[in-house]
Amino acid sequence: MALKIINTCVNCYACEPLCPSKAIYKAEAHFLINPRKCTECDGDYDTPQCATICPIEGAILDAKGMEINPPGSLTGIPPEKMAEAMAALQAH
């Protein structure tokens, strides 16, 4: 059982000091979670702390590989609206 940080992480440092297991570390491209240390905060907090402060939707996955903060859940921007705006930008 371990969470995973993927490459959409923006290196904001918010998660690292919160981890009760000291499982999060700064790596070359972005922060990573040591799967041997990660407890998903079980026994310490109700919710995994890294995923609870992370501002980037989709950057942290649970043990099954599912996004803990799926698109739209943190910003409130409906995913289709975001896709629309980005498509318009790329077409420009």
């Binding site: 918010a14 000091p17 919710t47 910003t75 705006a85 318009a88």
Partner: protein
């Protein structure tokens, strides 16, 4: 017939008027006590006057944030953009200290070091306070300031008061949690993500508590608010009143910046920013209860130099690594230069105060107000070619006198290549930025822009080159009055506040 210069009325304490609204629309530093005035006179972010002489810099050491704002996107960084929250280079405290001392030694006019994010400095207490602690020890002649969303402020006040902290800026966009929920989708509080009204309520409580605690410690507090039409625009006058009552000394109402390509909630959802008129009207509505700041440039979180310029490129990490800094001798040089600047400012101010006192009893006109745009590269005089101006200072002349209203950038928030715009020429964009102004004062102007300005109903004027701004604005207003151009009572612009 001469007109008084409102922005330059003497301090309330010196003028024998205890009302904060002494001088009616004096929205600069005139109302402040002598003690606070002395504290802020060499601070570029406090006064339109000081920012022409003194420089500031920001270091980005605090990337983590404990709240989400609908006008912020944590992923965003474009090197062509210049706006708050945008930063290219995250520094460690060690690098930040080195960079600060390198800049202070190279640009002796640099008086203020701020930590403003991206992220919230107080959500990064280790990085922020290590930077402050080392600078207050090694570079005691630099003022330190910090900007925060306020969530972690109450627990930080004690630590803040130990350093060389000159002032704290709190961004307060509302005092009503229902409005807050439309601005802040969530906060991180006591190890939980709290959404909606409940999150906003906690944030507001912490902000207000932090404000009161800072004021009780004698630390100056400036309040920033982002004006979001349809959400908090009607509410900000109330915010202004409350923070003033609690002891904040300056209120800076800034326009929302929201473009779809920034990927922010407001940008993507099509929330518009305020127009220049809406912003000025709100600043006027707030100024009845508060000192308003009108010269804010909404600079990048890593800007270096005088407001409106960015010399950050001269101080990238690789460049500062190579610099050898002897800060002790730099401090000696800085002191001499600061004293010379202060003397120049004092003598200019004394002249203006004298002129204002002389004009105070002048007979009042009953003409309408006029907005004028000024091309200047600083020092309070009209000294810039129209075509070189990247921003214009906007002054209002009215029967009550001359006052600084705002600045307007001609290359709004983006200095990138022209192809990313909508095909408008630079000149067309500039003319659009000057909407509402009837006159442009500059040192020189070419034939083509002259023609286009006239067609747009804006009169170019190069006759007052190198003259002090307020005197020239007054003179042009008087000419307009004498020529009968101001007789239409309706006017073509907004009425005076």
């Amino acid at each position: 017939m001469e007109l008084p210069v409102l922005n330059e009325t003497p301090a309330a304490s010196a003028g024998g008027c205890s009302s904060h609204s002494c001088g009616s629309s004096d929205d600069q530093l005139g109302h402040l006590s002598d003690e606070i005035r002395a504290k802020v006179e060499n601070h570029p972010c406090y006064s339109e006057d000081a920012h022409h002489y003194f420089a500031r810099m920001h270091v980005a050491v605090a990337p983590a944030c404990n709240i989400q704002c609908h006008y912020c996107n944590r992923k965003y960084d474009c090197s062509n953009e210049s706006r708050p929250g945008v930063v290219s280079e995250l520094l460690t405290p060690d690098q930040a200290v080195k960079k600060t001392m390198a800049v202070a030694a190279t640009i002796p006019q640099m008086t203020v070091l701020g930590i403003a994010g991206p992220g919230d400095p107080l959500a990064n207490p280790d990085r922020t306070f290590e930077t402050f602690r080392r600078l207050s020890e090694d570079a005691p002649d630099i003022k330190l300031c910090v900007s925060t969303n306020g969530l972690a402020l109450p627990e930080s006040v004690e630590e803040l008061s130990k350093h060389n902290i000159d002032h704290v800026t709190i961004t307060i966009n509302c005092v009503d949690p229902e409005i807050g929920a439309q601005i802040y989708p969530w906060i991180f509080w006591e190890n939980k993500r709290i959404k909606g009204v409940e999150g906003a309520r906690i944030l507001i409580e912490q902000q207000q508590k932090g404000l009161e605690m800072l004021v009780a410690k004698g630390i100056l507090v400036k309040v920033n608010s982002v004006m979001i039409p349809g959400i908090n625009d009607k509410h900000l006058a109330e915010v202004s009143k409350i923070v003033k009552t609690k002891g904040a000394f300056l209120h800076n109402v800034m326009p929302l910046i929201a473009e779809a390509e920034h990927g922010t909630f407001f940008g993507v959802m099509g929330q518009r920013g305020p127009t220049q008129d809406e912003l000025m009207d709100l600043q006027d509505a707030c100024s009845g209860d508060m000192n308003m700041m009108r010269h804010c440039r909404q600079c990048r979180a890593d800007a270096v130099g005088l407001l409106g310029e960015d010399r950050g490129d001269e101080f990238t990490l690789d460049k500062i690594e190579e610099m050898e800094i002897d800060y002790q001798s730099a401090m000696v040089k800085r002191k001499v230069i600061h004293e010379a600047i202060a003397e120049e400012m004092h003598s200019k101010r004394a002249k203006k105060d004298e002129a204002a006192a002389k004009h105070a009893e002048a007979k009042k006109l009953d003409t309408r107000p006029v907005l004028m745009a000024i091309a200047t590269s600083g020092q309070g005089v009209i000294n810039q070619h129209f075509g070189h101006a990247k921003e214009f200072l906007i002054y209002e002349a009215s029967p009550n006198g001359v006052r600084f209203m705002s600045h307007r950038k001609t290359d709004l928030y983006c200095s990138g290549d022209d192809t990313c715009g909508d095909g408008e020429s630079v000149l067309q964009r500039t003319i659009r930025a000057l909407e509402g102004c009837e006159v442009v004062l500059c040192s020189k102007i070419g034939y083509e822009p002259w023609d286009m300005l006239e067609k747009a109903g804006i009169q170019p004027n190069g006759e007052h080159a190198m003259e002090p701004i307020e005197e020239a604005v007054m003179a042009v207003y008087e000419e307009m009055a004498a020529a009968g151009k101001l007789d239409d009572a309706e006017g073509r612009i907004r009425a005076t506040a």
